[in-house]
Symmetry: C2
Subunit: 120 residues, 2 copies
C-alpha cells in the first residue's frame, strides 16, 4: 500500500469494549516496525480497565473522554497526545456527546490483553 | 509523560522544506520503539524530493496536498493514510488554501535524510 482513505478500511468490534470499533489503517504486515490503528467509541462507549504487553502512542482526533492510566485520571480531547507504557492498567470512557476517535500505534510485537475489571 | 496537548509542543522549522514546521509529540526518548511527530505545512509550503533511511506511517489531519512516492503522485486529504517505505524518494506540496497537517511516525532508528532535488 501507499495511500488509502480511512473510511475504506474495515471496522471491527473491539473485544471486551462497549460500542467501540477498531480499524487497522496500516497493519503489522504492511509496516515493518509498528501498526497504525484508529479507534471509534460511540457516545457512552468505553473500554474497561486492562493491560497490554505493548506500549501505546495515541493522538485524539475527535470528541472527548476520560482515560485512566495507572492511578491517574485524564480528561482528553481532540489534539491531545497520550502515552501508555506497556503493562500499565488503563481504561477509556467517552464523556462527550459525539464519538471519541483516536489513533493508537503499537509496535510489531505480541500484544496480550488482560482485562482487570470488566466494568467500563 | 502520559498526556500532553499538541499545541503545547515546541514547533521547529523543517530543514530543506518551505514553510513547514515539525512538532515531536512523543520523542524517541519517551517512546521505546517509535516517535510520533506532527508536521504543519503552510499554504504553498512543501518538502522537496528526498529519501529517508526509515519508513513513514502517516495520517492526514487537515488540508490537502500532492505527495509523490517514487514515480506515483497522490492527492491526499484529511483522513487519508500514507505509507512511505524506507529509501523511496518522496515529496510534499500543499495544494490547498489551508495548512496541510499530518502525523508521521518513524521507528527509533537512525534517520539519514538525502535531498534528491532541492526544488519543491
Amino acid at each position: 500500500m501507499t495511500v488509502k482513505h480511512a473510511v475504506d478500511v474495515e471496522a471491527n468490534d473491539v473485544l471486551n469494549a462497549k460500542d467501540t470499533k477498531i480499524q487497522v489503517l496500516i497493519s503489522s504486515r504492511e509496516g515493518p516496525n509498528f501498526a497504525l490503528r484508529k479507534f471509534s467509541m460511540q457516545r457512552d462507549g468505553g473500554m474497561p480497565r486492562h493491560t497490554n504487553t505493548v506500549e501505546h502512542e495515541q493522538y485524539v482526533l475527535r470528541g472527548e473522554a476520560s482515560i485512566t492510566i495507572g492511578e491517574e485520571i485524564h480528561h482528553v480531547k481532540a489534539g491531545d497526545v497520550v502515552f501508555i507504557p506497556e503493562g500499565v492498567v488503563h481504561s477509556y470512557q467517552n464523556t462527550g456527546e459525539e464519538p471519541f476517535e483516536f489513533l493508537c500505534i503499537i509496535p510489531n510485537k505480541d500484544d496480550k490483553v488482560t482485562v482487570v475489571d470488566a466494568s467500563c
